[in-house]
Structure formats: C-alpha cells, structure tokens
C-alpha cells in the first residue's frame, strides 16, 4: 500500500516542478511582445529625437536631410482624416444600425455579415487597387485627397461596423421596451434612446479605426499619393502626401541621415496615434455604464 503512494509523491513533485517551470516559460513568452515594443520605441527615440525640432515640424520636405520637414505630410494626414471620418462614420454606423435594429434573420442579413468579416481580412493593398481603379480612374477624381479618403473609408468600414454592432448589442432590450411603452416609434427609440447610450462605444471604435487609417501606407501609395509635396493642400481635389508615405520615402533613401529624419517622422506619427488611443480609452472609461 505504501509503494504506490511513494511513487505518486515522487511523480507529483516532478509534475509540480514542471508546472512551476511552465509558468516561467509562458510568462517570458508573454513578455516578448512587451520587450519588443519597448525596444522598438527606444530604437526610434534614439534615432529620431535629435532631429525632432520646430524646424522639422514647420519645414516642407527637402533634398537635404538637415532641412527636411514634415509639414505637408502632417497637413495631408489631417485633411485625409477629416474627409475619411464622416464618410466612414455614416456608412459604418448606418450598416451597424441596420444589422442590429432592423434586419430580419434571413440569408441576406447573414450574407452581409459574412461579407463584412471577409472584407476585414482583405489585404489593404487590394483596397488600394480598388481605389486606383474605381476612384482615381473610374470616377476621375485623380490622385486627390478625396480619392484617398474614399479608399481609406472603405478600408476601415469593417472595423467600424463590427465595433458599432458590439456597442449596439450591449444596450439592453429593457431600454427599448420602455421607449416603446411610452409610444415611441422604432426610429424615435433608436435615435433618442439607443444611439445616445451606445455612442461612447461607437466613438471608441471609430477613433481606433481612424488611428488605423492614419498608419496605413500601402493603399495610398497605390492610389498615387505623392512622395514629394512642397505645399499644403487647399481643397479635397488637391494632390497630397501623408505621414507614413513621407516616412517611407525617407526610409528608402540611400543617405544615412535620412534614416534619422525618418525616425523623427515616426515619433510624430506615434505621438499622434498614442493621443488618439488615449482619447479612445478615456471615452470608453468615462462613459462606460453598466446596465
């Protein structure tokens, strides 16, 4: 009787040792991501911080690294985002409201739903090809901010739809029933009760989607955003460049100094993205209520 117990004890201590070891293995794997993130930030900061000054922010791009600046790319990004945001918001939130509030459960609804999750998996460069064919050539918009904004809006549409759907789903049915009980119609209920309650979630999703759009490079290269723009755009039909493309242009140059300029550009880009992410988190925390 005592023998199996002895054996069990021995194997048990072995298994327990394995268990403790595995904890360390899994913990260190998880920290790889965090370590890399820190390395990346430090690498960019070391390379770029020396080149980041007021001149860099207010100069146009230049052939000489010392004079190169990010002004036209910065304004191009702002222009593009201000055009992309309303287009993507209306289409994305509209789709989500339809799917969550109006759509019956039939094959067509399922088809839209499957289609949206598929669109989310389409490589961004393919959206670039679509934008080039449809907006730049087909609709004759040329290599304009508007063509870029349309392309970007389609690219981030799936993200916005899914996030808005989640936000709408989290609004409990009781709220809707209360509104109906007071005689509200369907649209009145949605507009006055459901949407205000879901708005923080919807906005959070939109901001995250837009921050994705700010970082995207490939589709805009496809539709032909320029890499050397020495002016700030003044209308949606102007040609333009954006920060990731400007950075790409600097990275691809052979002169070593442009690598530092690129790093400085990356610092500006990351600062912008972190601000937007912080805003999204702030919104989520401030307006998050439990029903």
């Amino acid at each position: 009787m005592s023998l199996p117990r002895e054996q069990l004890k021995r194997t048990l201590s072995g298994r327990k040792r394995f268990d403790r070891l595995s904890y360390l293995v899994f913990l260190s794997s998880t920290s790889v991501g965090i370590v890399v993130l820190c390395t990346l930030l430090i690498d960019v900061l070391i390379n770029g911080i020396g080149w980041l000054n007021w001149d860099f922010l207010t100069n146009y791009p230049s052939r000489r690294p010392a004079n190169a600046g990010i002004k036209s790319a910065f304004f191009g990004t702002i222009w593009m985002i201000t055009l992309t945001a309303p287009i993507a918001f209306v289409l994305g939130v509209g789709t989500a409201i339809y799917l969550e509030e109006y759509a019956k459960k039939n094959w067509f609804t399922r088809f839209i739903q499957v289609n949206i999750s598929n669109l989310a998996g389409v490589p961004s460069i393919v959206f670039g090809i679509l934008g080039l064919t449809l907006f730049v050539r087909g609709m004759g918009l040329g290599r304009s901010i508007l063509a870029g904004a349309f392309t970007m809006a389609l690219l981030i549409l799936p993200i916005i739809v899914v996030a808005s759907q989640e936000a709408l789903k989290s609004i409990p049915q009781e709220l809707r029933h209360a509104s109906y009980a007071l005689g509200g119609t369907k649209w009145q209920t949605i507009r006055r009760i459901v949407l205000p309650a879901a708005l923080p979630g919807i906005l959070t999703g939109n901001i995250l989607a837009l921050s994705r759009a700010i970082g995207e490079t490939a589709p805009l290269i496809m539709i032909g955003a320029l890499t050397f723009v020495a002016f700030t755009p003044s209308s949606p039909l102007d040609q333009f460049t954006v920060m990731p493309i400007q950075i790409f242009n600097w990275i691809s140059r052979p002169q070593e100094d442009f690598q530092y300029v690129a790093a400085a550009g990356i610092i500006v880009l990351l600062a912008m993205l972190l601000t937007m992410n912080a805003l999204a988190i702030y919104l989520r925390n401030k307006f998050q209520h439990k029903f």
Binding site: T30, G33, L37, G94, Y98, I112, L119, G121
Partner: protein, 328 residues
C-alpha cells in the same frame, strides 16, 4: 367633452390658456396629426437608407472582385495562364519579360513561414498565460499593451526591421545582406503575435469552467489542465487564429517592401532577398508604368492571386472557428 371645452373657453382669460384649453389626450392627438406625416415618412425612409449603407459593403466586395477579374482577364489575353502559374521567373519590368508568378508566391510564403515560426509559439504561450495563469489584475495590464503592439503602423515595423533587427542578425550571420527574408519575416511575426494571442485566448476562455474543474478534481496540475484539457478543447479556434494570422502575414505590405528587398527570387533560403506579391504591387505603383501596358496589368493579376490566397485562408479560418463554437 363639449361641455368641458365650453367651460375651458370661459376660462380663456387665464394666462396659461393654451395648456389648460386641451386635455392631455387632445394634446397628444394634436401633436400627432402635426407630426404624423413626417413621422410616418421617416419611419419608412430610415430603414431603406440604412439598408443602402449595409448593401454598400457587398458592393465593395463585388467591386473588388469585378475590377480584379476584368483586368486579370485582359492580362491573360496577352500572357498564357500556364506560364503565369508554373513559371519560375518574374521579370515583367525588364527585357526579356517573364511572367511566372511562383517567385513572388515563394517570397510571400517564405516570409509568412518565418513569421509563423516566430508568432505561433509566442502567441500561443501568451494566450495560455493570459487565459490560464494570469490573475485578472495582470491580464488587465498586459492585454492593452499587446493591443498597442497590434496598433503600431507597419511602416514603423519596417523601419524597425531595417534599423534594429537586421544589424542585430548580422552579429550572428555576418554575411547577411541589408535586405533579406529573415528579418522581414521575424518582424512580420512580431506584428501578428497580438492577433494569435488574443484570438487563441478568446477560444480558450470560451472553454467552460466545469471541464477545467473536472481535471483539477482528478489531481491535474495547472500545466496539465492547460495543455491536455483546454488547448485540445479549443483546438479548432486556436488553429483558426493561426490561419488568420498567416493570412495577415501574406497580405502584409510595408514591412516586406522595406526590409525584404525587391528581388523576385525563387528560393526558400531565408538570408536571401526576396520579393512578395504585395511588395511587387507597391514597386509597380511607385514607378511610372504607363496605363494600359502589360506591366500595368500585372498588378491586377498579382492582386488577384493575393486576393484568392488570402480569401481561401480566411474562409478556412472562419469555418474552423464556427466548428469550434458549435461544440458548446
């Protein structure tokens, strides 16, 4: 009613005459008839408008397929489809022009392979840690950090590959070129770690507690519960996350454009420069390829190849995760 109204009329000197002059029911009626028409039109129009929004996503898909298909057909009018699928040389921008897409596919697959060697073990281990080991407090800190990692623009990763990873690799492989599949693949792998981790974690969190507790009751350690119970139970969801991440790696553009080089190389040697499907499309659109030339149509043929490849993988992934969901 009439007598009430006449009474009220008598009180018409009262300052708030309007409020008193109607009963609540009448007020509702009056309001209704005023806004009834507009209201009814709105109730009818709004769903239709929203349906139009929702249908747009389908139009986008059809738009993508239509544009790719149309121009690809034009391309195959001039290049034999057999040469495209089986050829091992890709030189559309030089003479003599060769249109075998295999070098680009090999480049994409090689980069995706290196990326999955990096991302799958680390991502899965992170998922196991987050779902089985980490206390809630730790998870709440680590998850947002991983989300930030996923939100870093790929252009930044490209810079990181070139300025940090390649020099680091050169310490171990001295004759490594500036552009190579290895550092591009490693960095793409880092990019998809958060995706593997969070999707696998979702799948593992969905495994019911009772199954875990059954295993603990039989005397299993935490490691045994994780590897022998939870991972097998969530297996199809975990595999789906791998497939989705690899599909993302194949579609990734800027990292490989910057760090992998621009050499359509039919090779699986990771230290050599390669060109991927996506990087080729960028290369063509950066140059001044004349509209309507055969070089111009290559981007549609390559884009179609990329679309089909990633589409099939996404379908497999969604099929796998659906199968997993039906189990519980």
């Amino acid at each position: 009613m009439v007598s009430v109204r006449s009474e009220l009329k008598a009180m018409s000197h009262s300052p708030n005459k309007k409020v008193i002059s109607q009963s609540v029911r009448e007020q509702i009626k009056a309001n209704r008839s005023n806004s009834f028409k507009i209201g009814r039109v709105t109730e009818w129009v709004v769903p239709k408008l929203l349906l139009v929004c929702a249908s747009l996503s389908i139009l986008v898909t059809f738009g993508i397929i239509y544009t790719l298909l149309k121009e690809t057909v034009t391309f195959f009018g001039q290049v034999s489809i057999i040469e495209f699928v089986t050829g091992t040389q890709w030189t559309p921008l030089f003479q003599p022009q060769r249109f075998g897409v295999l070098p680009l596919v090999a480049g994409s697959v090689l980069v995706a392979l290196i990326a999955s060697i990096v991302a799958i073990p680390i991502g899965l281990a992170s998922a196991i840690f987050l779902s089985e080991y980490a206390p809630d407090r730790v998870r709440r800190v680590i998850k947002p950090i991983l989300e930030v990692l996923a939100g870093v623009p790929t252009i930044v990763y490209g810079f990181f590959a070139l300025s940090f990873v390649t020099p680091l690799l050169r310490v171990f492989i001295p004759d490594l070129g500036l552009f190579n599949a290895l550092s591009a693949g490693i960095v793409v792998g880092i990019m998809i770690i958060p995706m593997v981790a969070s999707l696998s974690e979702d799948a593992m969190t969905a495994v019911p507690r009772s199954i875990r507790e059954g295993a603990y009751a039989l005397g299993a350690t935490r490691l045994e519960v994780a590897l022998k119970v939870v991972v097998p139970a969530a297996f199809s969801g975990i595999i789906a996350s791998f497939v989705l991440a690899i599909s993302r790696a194949i579609g990734e553009t800027m990292i490989v454009t910057i760090a992998a080089g621009a050499m359509p190389n039919f090779t699986f040697n990771p230290v050599e420069p390669v060109q991927t499907l996506t990087a080729y499309i960028v290369q063509v659109s950066l140059g001044d390829t004349p509209f309507g030339s055969i070089e111009y149509y290559t981007i549609y043929a390559v884009g179609m190849t990329l679309f089909v490849l990633t589409f099939v993988m996404n379908m497999i992934a969604s099929w796998l995760s659906r199968r997993f969901k039906e189990d519980y």
